[in-house]
């Protein structure tokens, strides 16, 4: 009797173990989940490069449109200074540019000092170049595409999560993780959207700041010209002096 009982117990354990073995040994027909992978990252990288291309294009256009007249008005070579300070991404280094422009203009033959005018204008053009990369039509297009990519990514994650919920051959923990992933990616997507908007607001603020800076510089230039021309005017009057 005692032996029979013992046999029964061990047979049950054995059976359970066999069941477990069978269950666990069943081939896990794991689904290969499409990640979007290469496409997704390539898209992001392209967007990134386009941003700098846009800025670079603006800079080269600004050199032709704005810097050249400035050069002619102050009789100095600024393109050289701008070109020398260009970084690997094509945008001039504002600090290096300022320095080399200052050096170029340190000995000026013109009566009206134009260092500040030139350096500030170049700073403004660089600011506007980066602003243009975000705010131009292409920049807006790119922002929209970025958001589209993000949206797709979030949607893909959510779909994965839903599919995970209906998967039977897995543990509940994994399902919960999949659900959390979906939520996190949703949050990340909305953050990406916020950041894109922030970038636009920031660039708009920068554009307005360059306008304010232009206004102040214009006033300073007017005051400078007034001072210098008072001197010239006095010389003109005084050199007429003659007793007759």
């Amino acid at each position: 009797m005692e032996h029979n009982k013992h046999f029964k117990k061990s047979a049950m354990v054995l059976g359970l173990a066999a069941m477990l073995l069978i269950a666990s040994a069943a081939p896990s027909r794991a689904v290969t989940i499409p990640m979007g992978g290469g496409d997704f990252f390539n898209g992001l990288l392209n967007q990134f490069l386009q941003y700098f291309e846009e800025a670079q294009r603006y800079i080269s256009q600004a050199i032709n449109d704005k810097i050249q007249p400035l050069e002619e008005s102050i009789n100095a070579d600024l393109q050289n200074a701008l070109g020398q300070a260009k970084g690997v991404l094509g945008i001039p280094d504002p600090i290096a540019t300022r320095k080399s422009v200052e050096e170029t203009l340190s000995n000026s033959a013109e009566p009206i000092n134009s260092q500040e005018r030139a350096t500030n204008e170049i700073d403004r053009q660089i600011t506007r170049a980066t602003a243009s990369a975000t705010l131009s039509q292409e920049g807006q297009q790119r922002t929209q595409e970025q958001l589209q990519i993000t949206k797709q990514a979030v949607e893909t994650v959510q779909q994965q999560a839903q599919i995970a919920q209906s998967d039977v051959v897995t543990q509940n923990v994994m399902k919960r993780i999949a659900a959390q992933n979906a939520e996190i990616s949703g949050v990340l997507g909305s953050m990406r959207q916020d950041m894109a908007q922030d970038a636009q607001r920031q660039e708009l603020a920068n554009v307005n700041l360059t306008n304010i800076s232009r206004g102040i510089d214009g006033q300073n230039q007017a005051a400078d010209s007034e001072r210098v021309s008072t001197g010239f005017g006095n010389l003109r009057i005084f050199s007429r002096a003659r007793l007759f």
Binding site: N75, Q115, N234, L235, S239, A241
Partner: protein, 369 residues
């Protein structure tokens, strides 16, 4: 200039040259301009005194003269009948003088007016070219003016450096301004101008940037006021000449009214006015020239004080001086005539003869030239 600035040559060869070129161009042009002004004054005199306006005024003067001649003749005839022969004959000098002067569109009067002008102008030239301690009034005046102008130019160029926030840029700006001030300085600077240049040079004086700016910068308002004051003085100088021309233009009317028996003889009033305006010119030139000589010799100059002295106070002073001198002569003549009229015939005769002699002498001198 344009070609060079395109290349990079300008950096070395034309450094600071632009301001110098500009300044010397302004100086040359202005000097030429003032030369043209004083030359064109001669033409103005010729044009006015031989033009249609003078003829018209001469005709008006002749009309006056004919009218007053009738009154004069009546008066003279009355005197003749009353037995005052001697006085009356000396009085006849006036109608003869008036007729001579106004005949042929007052050509004699215009010539003698020009003669009087050239007399005063010769005195004027002698005064201006006379050297007072190695420098003539003209040279001193022009030197001081040119130096104040260059100083103001330097101050104006330096003033813009105060607005530069970047220390490096400010230093560059000050250096450029100082170099430009030196480059555009007039040759042979006086001691006061040299002092000014030295006060700008931070290296020489061991000054820092702030001191340079402090000593070099002047309020734009003050500088403009200086320009205005000097311009005022020059405008006065021009207008004195114009006034002189105008006075000369009124000559025929004064001569025409001379025969009027009442009051002062108009020709004397006119002559005194004419000489008074000439005196204004002389006084102005002497006062400004002496102030300039003072400044050059003292080696110290405050441009603002000079501008007030030369631009504003010298015209006022010269007006007062000339008015005083004119008034003194006028009063003297009036006294002579009133005295002569109140006294008996002998005195009257003596006074009239004296006047006639003086006038005759003056005119003979003028016409003789």
């Amino acid at each position: 200039m344009e070609m060079l600035s395109r290349s990079f040559l300008w950096k070395n060869s034309l450094l600071f040259g632009a301001v110098q070129d500009q300044a010397s161009q302004i100086i040359n042009q202005s000097a030429q301009g003032s030369q043209f002004i004083s030359e064109s004054l001669d033409r103005l005199w010729d044009d006015v005194l031989s033009g249609g306006l003078y003829t018209a005024l001469a005709n008006l003067g002749i009309l006056f003269a004919v009218g007053t001649l009738l009154i004069f003749m009546v008066q003279w005839a009355k005197d003749l009948i009353d037995g005052e022969e001697v006085r009356s004959f000396s009085e006849l000098m006036w109608p003869i003088l008036v007729i001579c002067l106004l005949a042929n569109n007052a050509s004699l009067l215009s010539d003698s007016t020009k003669g009087m002008r050239s007399l005063i102008n010769q005195v004027n030239q002698t005064i201006l070219t006379q050297t007072a301690s190695s420098i003539s009034l003209q040279e001193a005046y022009q030197k001081v003016m040119l130096e104040i102008g260059s100083e103001d130019l330097a101050r104006g160029i330096l003033a813009q450096c105060a607005t530069k926030a970047d220390p490096l840029q400010q230093q560059d700006c000050v250096n450029n301004a100082v170099e430009q001030a030196k480059a555009s300085a007039p040759p042979n600077p006086s001691r006061s101008y040299q002092n000014f240049l030295d006060s700008l040079n931070p290296l020489q004086q061991g000054q820092n940037l702030v001191n340079t700016l402090q000593s070099g910068i002047q309020n734009t308002l003050v500088m403009s006021a200086r320009g205005l004051l000097i311009a005022f003085g020059m405008a006065f100088q021009w207008l004195v000449e114009i006034t002189w021309v105008l006075t000369a233009l009124l000559g025929p009317l004064a001569v025409g009214g001379t025969l009027l028996p009442v009051g002062q003889k108009a020709i004397f009033a006119w002559l005194i006015g004419f000489y008074s305006v000439g005196l204004v010119k002389l006084c102005l030139n002497i006062v400004t020239g002496l102030v300039a000589t003072l400044v050059v010799n003292a080696g110290d100059n405050d441009p603002m004080i000079f501008a007030f002295a030369v631009g504003l106070l010298a015209p006022i002073l010269s007006l007062a001086l000339a008015a005083g001198a004119g008034k003194a002569v006028f009063d003297a003549l009036q006294t002579v005539i009133r005295h002569g009229l109140l006294a008996g015939g002998k005195d009257v005769r003596r006074g009239a003869n004296a006047l006639g002699q003086v006038t005759g002498f003056v005119f003979s001198k003028i016409l003789g030239r």
